[in-house]
């Protein structure tokens, strides 16, 4: 299913982002809400990874805690047969996966998740207010990703740069995640 929407003139539904109007962060860790993105939860067996990678235009990583990016798409390893694929804007991910012709499950989760971008020298410390993972560059280098916990909610964490992370979170948990990140960001600036 492509999330472009037919042209319905003035009646076309407008989009309301879950974290619209949220702002926060500190001098050490900036918090921004990510623009809308297309996302699929992709499931497939090992033998079909190649075909799906080709069809999606991004190599599905097979190593735990890694991601790969190409052509505006990022594929995050979440499990031995599970990936979160994120595309900027409307990337036609469902159709692309379908075009692979191999056995897989793709579920559109573009609206299930939203994302918070955390950046700055205290980004890791801000996230460590609620995330028990080792976010040192050695253990969690740029490109590393993990489905993990943040306080009382689940997040998918992706390191996009040495001092920048993308926090993917289910929409109804996003204001909690944002609130906890605000406190973490403040504490990271002390």
């Amino acid at each position: 299913m492509v999330d472009s929407g037919a042209n319905f003139g003035s009646d076309i539904a407008a989009r309301t982002l879950p974290l619209a109007g949220f702002h926060g962060g500190s001098s050490a860790a900036r918090l921004e809400t990510a623009p809308p993105a297309e996302r699929i939860s992709l499931r497939a067996r090992a033998e079909d990874v190649g075909a799906l990678s080709g069809a999606l235009g991004v190599a599905l990583p097979v190593k735990p805690k890694t991601s790969s990016s190409a052509n505006g798409r990022t594929a995050l390893w979440l499990g031995p047969d599970e990936w979160l694929v994120i595309a900027e804007g409307n990337g036609g991910l469902m159709q692309a996966a379908k075009n692979s012709g191999v056995l897989h499950s793709a579920a559109d989760v573009s609206h299930r998740n939203t994302a918070i971008l955390v950046s700055g020298p205290g980004a890791a410390a801000a996230i460590n207010a609620g995330c028990p993972q080792d976010l040192s560059l050695k253990a969690f280098p740029v490109g590393a990703c993990s489905r993990t916990v943040f306080g009382k909610v689940e997040i998918v964490l992706l390191r996009t740069a040495e001092d920048a992370f993308r926090v993917e979170v289910w929409r109804s948990f996003s204001d909690y995640a944002f609130g906890l990140l605000c406190e973490g960001a403040q504490d990271a600036s002390l």
């Binding site: 407008a14 879950p18 579920a107 573009s110 109804s172 204001d175 909690y176 609130g179």
Partner: protein
């Protein structure tokens, strides 16, 4: 002796490390005092000659300051910054003075100097160990009215604050290669060594500055430098390294599995005007690859008669107050010791101009080096002597000294008495790590023996007394190499555990072992005489070591006295296990960020703001906030729900169903998988159709229900109850991975992908028609239980023809971000047509009118599909599904099981209470035979009467019978009916 009159008459010029010009004002019990920055409340009060700080827990005896550190059992105070920022039971020896601090003593009334509770001291023979166990046994009723209120009033020390804590607390997870607990000589050396290897290092110390024993031990030189100065320089060097984190004022309070440690950092408790953005305390949860324990050792007190008077304190404490804070603990100080270390305290005091009345050493032959130094300083040493008693009321004024083994006692006037029975290695964290201790017979101490984790103990806590050896051990523990030399004045020997001369088994004196819980040597002996032979029993009988200090001073003494009574070696009597936390941790620290809005996530649907704007009242369903009902001006809940119920059936209603659990089941074996997970059949369901499904557990009981739509051969849209969504997905995933791994199918939670707008009622079709594209909504083309992918307001949607009201109904699933816009448009049209918004309460009533169950309300985990009247949903053709064998169990197929039926009260205006018990004969003797209970009960505006659902034994065979619901004040007569109260023919759903 010259003293600064400003910061206290006992402040010694030139002594200590505090800066005389930097002062802070505080009050103690309303009286104002001046302290120096860096003072603890204890050192500041001692500087003013104040020794009396509180009353003891049980006997209300006057108590002073025993130690200079976190082991303090006595000097517990109430510290406040303002009305809301107040903390009871703070150790005066840990709390740093800040300008404006309000300190109040505890456990006394009306005043510290005159305390009514001190009468307990006179009655102390009645309050012996085990008093509570023996006294409050009978009569039974007295517990509630007399004993418990009495004990509750007497129990507990300090008064908990009543106002909400205005401070905030932070939490930080961290990882490191090496965590070093304790920054004395050993810890610092290990840190320097570890840091040199490039490892990531956490160096943690509970005191405001690093240095550990160097705070008091002014004689030790490291690398030719004063030890304390070397420590500060080393810390500065470590702090400058990018791989090292130095945390002071931070206590490692817990050592858990796999190198996981809990640390509490006190961030603002010492600051006069804390920055608002600073947390009061920060919890560090650290995972360390390796842990180095350099926690040192704690000096023990001597156990002798009346050893608890204010002015009696540990020798090392007196030395800390002198060498660090520049405070003399008295002008004429007595010394009572069984260990060399007290001599050095006496020497330091003497050199600072304090008179030493005498050193009473209960050992016969102290070392010649110490005796020579004492002679040189003009201090008389009474070796082979003991202090057998003390005098004084609110402060010690004399000590009674006698030669061991009998002899004339004489009183010596003193204004302070410093004591030492030797040193107890701080093995608390080692013990918490599940390490096993061994008993060092020679030195009478427990030492680390068998390690359970990647951990090493060094220095004092490892029994390493020699400084050069300690440095070598620390360098090795750090794993790197540094060159260091150390030098101290005297080698320390000696020590004793247990009661000293004059406090033995044949005496009745009060020789305190545990100061905080007022446990004496006599109490421990009594426990043994009463038959307690295990230290675990003795501990609980006497409460020795069970106060907030966890017996840091008392455990070894208590153990030795018990061992002596039992005539067994100490290791045979055993040692109680040390538990986290090492020192008390505030609730605030443990709660951290989890308060207010961050206490628990409040899950809101995409339409939450719009619902709020329409005046919705919300109810919590799991973590979700669901619109409960929409009262109009002047309406109460019942009026609103009645209106909503009527309007839905007469016109239509719009309902937010977004919280419904949704699982996308995809793969060629999807139908086969659902066949195995649900009781009914799915392979026969055609794409474009949906079906109501029941899920049972292995035991055959109903687990969840919901409508499942087939979108394509290989794609199902499963819905679950709101509360059941996470566990149903886990249940499915569990079976998929463990029982049916051969199936080619995958599960994805899509609950939050879709905003769900239900439109129910006769005008539902008319309302949604203009917004829907790509599907013919006519009854013929899109009958009840149809599903279609289509477009709603230009966005891709999934449309279900489904009803939980018994009316013509649709559920529109649109991508969540579009939910508000679609909701707004639909509601605008619906409202213009006379429809209403309705909430979960109306949904509950409408479904009950139709006899639709709610899993978890009308079922309780012991209800089979057949019990719930859903036997039709269990396939008789399928060979396997989860629960198929469970459903064949004899108990699940027997007669007279509880079955779900309808109940109608004989008085139609009466609404039953959910949970009400049902009986056949209300006049039978109690306890009555219960036939079942009411599961749902409502006023039904559409039926013009009350309705109810109930689980009743043999319910379906009782239809037509009259049963009773006995309540406290009346009995309600009911008639058993079927479960459908409205539109029994069910025609409306196909409208």
């Amino acid at each position: 002796m010259s003293a600064s009159s400003n910061s206290g008459a006992f402040r010694i010029k030139g002594a200590g490390r505090l800066t005389p010009a930097r002062t802070a004002r505080f009050t103690f019990d309303g009286k104002s005092f001046t302290a120096l920055e860096g003072d603890t409340v204890a050192s500041a009060l001692l500087a003013h000659g104040v020794h009396l700080l509180g009353r003891s827990f049980k006997y209300h005896r006057p108590r002073g300051i025993l130690s200079a550190g976190p082991e303090e059992p006595n000097a517990l105070i109430d510290v406040s910054r303002d009305a809301a920022r107040r903390q009871p039971n703070v150790r005066a020896t840990v709390q740093e003075v800040f300008d404006g601090a309000k300190i109040v003593s505890q456990n006394r009334w009306p005043s510290l100097k005159f305390d009514v509770g001190a009468i307990n001291n006179l009655f102390s023979p009645f309050f012996a160990a085990g008093f509570y166990y023996k006294t409050f046994m009978w009569p039974r009723e007295a517990w509630v009215k007399v004993y418990e209120p009495f004990i509750r009033r007497a129990a507990g020390l300090g008064v908990a604050p009543t106002e909400e804590d205005p401070d905030h607390y932070a939490n930080r997870y961290a990882h490191c290669d090496v965590l070093i607990a304790g920054a004395g000589v050993a810890g610092l050396t290990a840190a320097l060594s570890a840091a040199a290897t490039g490892a990531s290092v956490f160096l943690v110390d509970e005191q405001p500055e690093v240095g550990g024993a160097l705070h008091y031990d002014a004689a030790t030189m490291i690398d030719g430098q004063n030890g304390y100065d070397w420590a500060q320089a080393s810390a500065a060097k470590l702090k400058a390294m990018p791989n090292v984190t130095v945390l002071t004022r931070t206590t490692v309070f817990g050592y858990y599995n796999h190198g996981f440690l809990g640390l509490v950092e006190r961030v603002t408790d010492h600051v006069a005007k804390p920055d608002k953005s600073s947390p009061r305390e920060r919890l560090w949860q650290v995972r360390a690859k390796k842990v180095v324990l350099a926690t040192g050792s704690i000096e023990r007190h001597m156990v002798f008669a009346n050893n608890d008077r204010p002015g009696i304190m540990l020798a090392s404490a007196a030395r800390t107050f002198l060498n660090h804070h520049g405070v003399a603990v008295g002008r004429n100080v007595g010394v009572y010791t069984a260990h060399d270390s007290a001599y050095e305290a006496a020497f330091d005091l003497r050199r600072a101009g304090v008179s030493i009345a005498a050193i009473v050493d209960n050992r016969a032959d102290p070392s010649e080096a110490l005796l020579a130094e004492a002679r040189a300083l003009g201090i008389s040493v009474l070796s082979g002597h003991s202090v057998t008693d003390t005098g004084g009321r609110l402060r010690i004024s004399s000590m009674t000294v006698a030669r061991n083994g009998g002899g004339n006692a004489r009183r010596i006037a003193v204004d302070a008495l410093i004591i030492s029975a030797g040193w107890t290695p701080s093995v608390h964290l080692f013990s918490q790590s599940r390490g096993k201790l061994r008993f060092d017979d020679v030195n009478q101490r427990f030492l680390p023996d068998i390690y359970a984790q990647d951990c090493v103990s060094i220095g004092g806590c490892n029994g390493t007394d020699d400084l050069a050896e300690l440095i070598d051990e620390a360098i090795a523990a750090g794993g790197g190499s540094v060159a260091l030399s150390g030098e101290n004045r005297f080698e320390w020997t000696g020590g004793m555990i247990g009661a000293a001369e004059g406090a033995g088994p044949d005496t009745t004196v009060k020789a305190f072992v545990d100061f905080q819980h007022d446990v004496t040597a006599k109490d421990i002996r009594l426990a043994v005489r009463e038959g307690m032979h295990s230290i675990e029993h003795i501990k609980r009988f006497t409460t020795n070591g069970m106060a907030s200090d966890q017996g840091k001073l008392s455990n070894m003494h208590g153990l030795a006295i018990a061992a002596e009574m039992l005539d067994r070696p100490i290791p045979k009597v055993g040692l109680t296990t040390f538990r986290a936390p090492y020192t008390p941790v505030t609730y605030g620290t443990l709660v951290g960020h989890s308060r207010g809005e961050l206490f628990d996530p409040a899950r809101k649907t995409p339409m939450h703001v719009l619902e709020t704007a329409e005046g919705a009242e919300f109810e919590d369903v799991g973590n979700w906030k669901r619109a409960w009902y929409y009262p109009k001006r002047g309406e109460d809940m019942l009026a609103a729900v009645n209106r909503e119920c009527r309007t839905v059936r007469e016109v239509a209603g719009v309902f937010n169903g977004s919280t419904l659990g949704k699982i996308e089941v995809v793969g060629p074996d999807a139908a086969q998988f659902l066949n195995l997970l649900y009781t009914n059949a799915w392979d026969s369901l055609k794409p474009g159709k949906s079906r109501y499904g029941i899920m049972t557990r292995e035991d055959g009981f109903v687990y969840d229900d919901g409508v499942v739509g087939r979108l394509a051969e290989d794609r199902f849209h499963v819905t679950t109850t709101t509360g059941g969504a996470p566990r149903v997905l886990h249940h499915m995933e569990d079976y998929l991975q463990t029982e049916f791994p051969h199936l080619r199918v995958w599960l994805t939670s899509t609950t939050e992908q879709w905003a769900v707008i239900a439109v129910q009622g006769p005008k539902a079709r008319e309302i949604i028609q203009p917004f829907v594209e790509g599907v013919d909504l006519s009854n013929e083309a899109f009958p009840h239980m149809s599903v279609s992918e289509c477009s709603v307001m230009g966005v891709p949607a999934r449309l279900f023809r489904v009803s939980f009201t018994g009316e013509l109904g649709f559920e529109l699933n649109v991508p969540a971000d579009y939910g508000p816009a679609v909701w707004k448009a639909i509601w605008e049209r619906a409202e213009s047509m006379g429809a209403c918004l309705y909430g979960t309460e109306t949904m509950h009533v409408l479904r009950a009118e139709k006899g639709y169950i709610i899993v978890g309300q009308d079922t309780d985990g012991t209800v089979t599909p057949d019990d719930a009247g859903l036997g039709w949903a269990v396939s008789s053709k399928k060979l396997d599904f989860v629960g198929i064998r469970g459903l064949k169990r004899p108990d699940l197929v027997r007669e007279n099981r509880k079955q779900l039926v309808g109940l109608l009260t004989k008085d139609p205006a009466l609404v039953l209470e959910e949970g009400g018990q049902i009986v056949a004969d209300p006049n039978q003797a109690k306890p009555m035979t219960m036939l079942g209970h009411v599961t749902s009960a409502y006023w039904s505006e559409n039926c013009g009467r009350s309705i109810a659902l109930a689980l009743v034994a043999g319910g379906r065979s009782r239809i037509g019978e009259t049963l009773y619901v006995p309540l406290k004040d009346r009995t309600i007569e009911v008639e058993v009916t079927d479960m459908v109260f409205f539109d029994k023919q069910g025609g409306r759903i196909h409208g």
